[in-house]
Symmetry: C2
Subunit: 216 residues, 2 copies
């Protein structure tokens, strides 16, 4: 029982800080996307393609979350956007206070879009509000079509699902129609995109949808 009580307190504390983060983002006119997925679904590659798309048209910043290393931040920084790496040192998800601390290294004035790439984990990050406008869940075709049913929390809390690595479909036993059906069973209001960061298929659709959201 103790762990439940403490967890609830942790979540309450997190939600309070997330609320403060959200207010800070609103004041600065920054639209914030919390990018979540399993390890290796292609969050960073998707981010790279997305940064290419918005280059020159929209000021973007990135917060990278990883258990260890700054490999992702180094990949993203090549696109000349303000980038901060959070290393959780074993922690399985980002929390609102980590984002708040990271924000002391980003000048939000003039930024219109902030991506927070969460730790690769399809379970834990779903419970932690960071102050984002929306969670985007990425799943790759190589992970199979049953993931929304097996890890429902993340799909329930996401605004959009990006089915990545569709260029590999000819070599896989993955039924994309079934994957979509499973995802929409869990969350009927989920917007679904199919992308390949290799062929760039679907990247423009995803980015223009995101663009329309942040201009609302």
């Amino acid at each position: 029982m103790a762990i439940v009580t403490v967890e609830r307190k942790v979540l309450q504390k997190n939600d309070q800080i997330a609320c403060e983060n959200r207010e800070l983002f609103r004041k600065n006119g920054v639209f914030v996307v919390n990018l979540v997925s399993s390890p290796g679904s292609g969050k960073t590659s998707l981010l790279e393609r997305t940064l290419e798309y918005f280059k020159g048209s929209l000021p973007v910043a990135v917060i990278e979350g990883d258990v260890q290393t700054d490999l992702d931040a180094r990949r993203v920084a090549k696109y000349n956007v303000p980038t901060v790496q959070i290393v959780t040192n074993g922690g399985c998800h980002l929390e609102a206070n980590l984002v708040r601390d990271a924000l002391t290294n980003v000048d939000l004035r003039g930024i219109r879009l902030l991506f927070i790439e969460n730790v690769g984990n399809l379970v834990c990050p779903s419970n932690y509000d960071l102050g984002e406008a929306m969670k985007i869940v990425v799943t790759s075709t190589t992970e199979g079509d049953d993931k929304p049913l097996k890890y429902p929390g993340m799909f329930q809390r996401a605004s959009a699902l990006i089915i990545n690595k569709i260029d590999l479909l000819p070599y896989l036993n993955c039924d994309v129609k079934m994957l979509k059906r499973n995802a929409l069973t869990i969350n009927p209001s989920l917007k679904v995109f199919e992308t390949s960061c290799t062929t760039k298929e679907g990247i423009a659709e995803w980015c223009s949808w995101l663009d329309s959201k942040l201009r609302k």
Copy 2:
């Protein structure tokens, strides 16, 4: 600070039950493998190929751990082995007490090999001993070659690494040599296998190694 204290207590309690599980396995002569990976790396497919290999020669049982659904247990049960599904209802990893409770549904007498397929999560399950003889970490080529560096805990605690989906290598930007080098940097004593559950490449090598371990 409160959460740290409670977590330590939870881990101590877990280790105590894991110790009891280990003693139970020893008494019954059961070799226990804790199978861990990201969601979609192919743990269940690997288990299916492994069950095929040992069919008729070794009595095997399986405990399946999932956040939701009994999809994996249904896949495995087709191989006519005793199978128990643990549904964690949102929990991000298996704990020793869940395994202990599941064991009330398995007659360990006569079983030589027990697989525990953990929740798909490359972070949290690494901290929880279940009483197993060894952890086996599975990573798929589609996840890229940097995962051991980014999620070191799991690779440090594993006895072997199975690099799965090697049939997809021609279509990927994944350097298997680099992946191995990264894994061995994190854990130099890691035994490494390369497998494909589609072509069955490497399955016999992995299974005969496992066979040699449990006959020691």
